[in-house]
């Protein structure tokens, strides 16, 4: 029993120390799925967010020379740990804003039970669920990744324009796959297309031939796959090609993976197209890629540019709001609304000067222009890619 008291005392003094050490520091929470199902994806995302914070501090700091500090929390990709960690960040660490969590389920729970009631602004780099759009969030929830709705809908319209009006859809049974597939289906059918097969599949099975046979029974010759090209999506595509279930293949952004070309060979992929976000004509992405490589990161890792943008936007919004947590959400929409002088990734000093001069700024992110709408969502700009040699080449833009 004594040991337990000692432990508890230790814990409390540790917390007390942590809060006393704060001097001239502005804290933001960095909440990610460190342990749990996306454990492999989370560290590069956190690293790229830290890169943004490092740049802020190297270029004179935030709010008149204060240090911006990121407190890392673990959401474990589930609502239980997400809410627990967010409660600590908001109440104990007293963060001025929250970057994350990574998974949609955590975002919904954290926004509903912590950040919105506490009046803290949240920006997620990878919560893609369409449900996040409809949150009753008083405008305090943002994201730097488009909702699955955008991509699914624009892909559906483009396929119809290309003359494909009968397809079968195979999707991975998680929030990514089902979100995309659902949006695609609704839009495709609403515009006169026919879905001849529609089925979810679980991850990591050895064979999907029975799923594919079932899907092809509807008579469509085009298969739309919403999955990851370095995982189950590859298996599906390979088995569909081998057995000749379908002739044309369309993928979502997860399918635009070099692993597919490497494994299946470009000569077999002449009828394969994939939609994927395309950067605007700014060189934001290249600037970010160079900076991220310089600190030892891999810029091709998934969601790293979104994560960087989320952190940089949070810093810009804090600067603009003058450090007042209650004004961050209004500032967030105004620093990236398509109006004002352009600020590119890493241009912190310039942004601070512009804000100080009272000028309007517009952040052009590494993952796109990121102009927030009323719901805090960003529209995606997507293109259709075809296989050309050993790489993907842009075929046409999606509308």
């Amino acid at each position: 029993m004594l040991k337990k008291i000692a432990l508890a005392a230790g814990l409390f003094s540790a917390t007390a120390l942590a809060s006393n050490a704060v001097q001239a520091e502005v804290k933001v929470g960095l909440l990610g799925g460190i342990s749990g199902p996306i454990a492999a994806m989370a560290p590069p995302m956190l690293d790229s967010a830290k890169l943004a914070i490092q740049q802020v501090n190297e270029q004179g700091g935030i709010l008149g020379g204060q240090t911006l500090e990121a407190v890392v929390g673990d959401s474990a990709c589930n609502p239980q740990n997400g809410v627990d960690s967010a409660t600590k960040l908001v109440n104990i660490e007293q963060v001025a804003g929250l970057i994350g969590p990574h998974c949609s389920g955590s975002v919904l729970a954290v926004a509903n039970s912590v950040t919105v009631p506490a009046g803290i602004t949240l920006i997620t780099p990878s919560g893609t669920s369409p449900e996040i759009t409809g949150l009753e969030d008083k405008g305090q929830v943002f994201r730097t990744v488009p909702s699955d709705d955008f991509q699914g809908r624009s892909l559906a319209r483009t396929l119809l324009n290309l003359g494909t009006n009968k397809v079968a859809v195979a999707y991975l049974n998680n929030d990514y796959g089902s979100g995309l597939a659902n949006a695609f289906k609704v839009e495709f059918e609403a515009n006169g297309g026919e879905i001849a097969g529609y089925s979810a599949h679980e991850e990591g099975k050895a064979s999907y031939r029975s799923n594919l046979a079932e899907l092809s029974r509807g008579g469509a010759d085009t298969l739309v796959v919403f999955d990851y090209g370095d995982g189950t999506g590859l298996t599906i595509l390979r088995q569909a090609l081998e057995n000749g279930f379908f002739t044309n293949f369309v993928g979502g952004d997860g399918m635009k993976s070099d692993a597919i070309i490497r494994e299946l060979g470009a000569e077999n992929l002449t009828t394969f197209i994939a939609s994927s976000p395309v950067g605007e004509k700014s060189n934001s992405l290249e600037i970010f890629n160079e900076a991220y490589k310089a600190v030892g990161g891999n810029p091709d890792a998934i969601f790293v540019s979104n994560s960087y943008d989320a952190a940089f936007l949070m810093a810009l919004a804090l600067e603009k709001a003058g450090g007042d947590a209650g004004k961050v959400s209004a500032a967030m929409s105004s620093v990236s609304d398509g109006q004002g002088e352009a600020v590119l990734p890493g241009e912190w000093k310039k942004a601070v000067e512009l804000i100080a001069a009272g000028k309007d700024i517009d952040y052009k992110g590494a993952s796109g222009d990121l102009n927030f709408d009323e719901a805090g969502d960003v529209p995606g700009s997507y293109g259709l890619f075809k296989v050309d040699g050993d790489a993907f080449a842009l075929q046409q833009a999606l509308n």
């Binding site: 890392v72 919904l108 509903n112 409809g134 659902n182």
Partner: protein, 326 residues
């Protein structure tokens, strides 16, 4: 400001401990008093959470519902649904003993999880159910949390009293008798199959109520919440550490494990930043280590099951009769 922050955190912890207490109490009925190794808590948690969510949530294009019943109806519905699901499962699985029952219930929980994920028309699939009403949700942060805490605590208190009463009644003694010596209980003419089913359904209904309270607290429920790690095994650790067969032990176990789990993040945050991410895994390790130590040095848990003491004379008599019979 700091003080209010601490208070907010403490209130949140208490709410969470209250919700998980229901799961641990439910498991205690099944394992602690009846010896049923249920490794499918997440399944009943899910049934309760989703039933209450669908009964009370506003209409939506992605899932069944639009009933918008009062929250209380949702909670009662959650208990009924979890109990109703437990009935066929118990009918089939309770013929298995210990390890086999555990395997079967893990399977059942996975089936429930996959049904929730796949049957989008009913549950919203991966998108889950949102906009679930939260009682007193319109108040400010602290007051809405305090109000919800009061609600959770009173429910836990009522459930605790109900279980205590049931366990010290002849039914409870009979269940412990069946648990400790099935043959003796059969010889005394007890209908073991039916009794076990009763305990299984009773426990599942309490777990379902826990799930419902969780869904309403977060105003949303997604399949990510019914991961077996966080919704099954963590509760086992809590119960074993606190002391199975003792309701106060179950409550204590939940509090100790969750406080260690949550507060240890402050300690690991003191490490240099290059270790900060890795250090998050330390917490998982600490919980595992704790379980190992408890099982090694105090297998009966922090608060062991009371054994025929003065306040339970009837238990003593029962045991005396039993030893006399030998």
């Amino acid at each position: 400001m700091e003080l209010i922050g601490l208070l907010n955190y403490a209130v949140y912890m208490a709410i969470f401990i209250g919700i998980y207490s229901l799961l641990a109490l439910g498991l205690n009925i099944q394992w602690g008093f009846s010896g049923l190794f249920n490794a499918g808590i997440a399944g009943f948690f899910a049934v309760g959470a989703y039933t209450s969510a669908l009964l009370t949530a506003p209409e939506s294009s992605v899932h069944l519902g639009g009933f918008q019943l009062p929250v209380v109806a949702g909670w009662i519905g959650a208990m009924i649904a979890a109990g109703a699901i437990a009935w066929p499962i118990g009918k089939v699985c309770l013929r298995f003993r210990s390890d086999y029952l555990a395997i079967a219930t893990i399977g059942v929980a996975e089936i429930i999880r996959l049904v929730v994920k796949s049957e989008g028309w009913m549950t919203g699939g991966a998108r889950g159910v949102n906009k679930i009403p939260r009682p007193f949700g319109d108040l400010s942060y602290l007051y809405s949390q305090l109000a919800y805490l009061a609600l959770v605590l009173s429910i836990v208190f009522i459930v605790y009293l109900a279980i205590e009463r049931q366990i010290s009644a002849p039914w409870g003694r009979m269940m412990r008798g069946i648990r400790d010596n099935e043959d003796a209980a059969t010889a005394m003419g007890k209908d073991i199959k039916a009794r076990r089913l009763e305990a299984f359904i009773f426990g599942a209904a309490v777990m379902g109520l826990g799930g419902a309270l969780f869904a309403h607290f977060n105003r949303s429920i997604t399949p990510e919440a019914i991961d077996p790690m966080i919704a099954t095994f963590l509760i086992w650790i809590m119960l074993i550490l606190g002391g199975s067969g003792n309701n106060r032990g179950a409550l204590l176990g939940v509090a100790v494990v969750w406080i260690i789990w949550s507060a240890s993040e402050f300690v690991t945050d003191q490490l240099p930043t290059e270790y900060a991410i890795k250090a998050k895994y330390m917490r998982v390790f600490i919980i595992g280590l704790l379980l190992q130590l408890v099982l090694r040095f105090r297998p009966e848990g922090i608060l062991p099951e009371p054994q025929g003491t003065a306040d339970r004379p009837e238990v003593k008599t029962f045991q005396n009769q039993e030893s006399a019979a030998k």
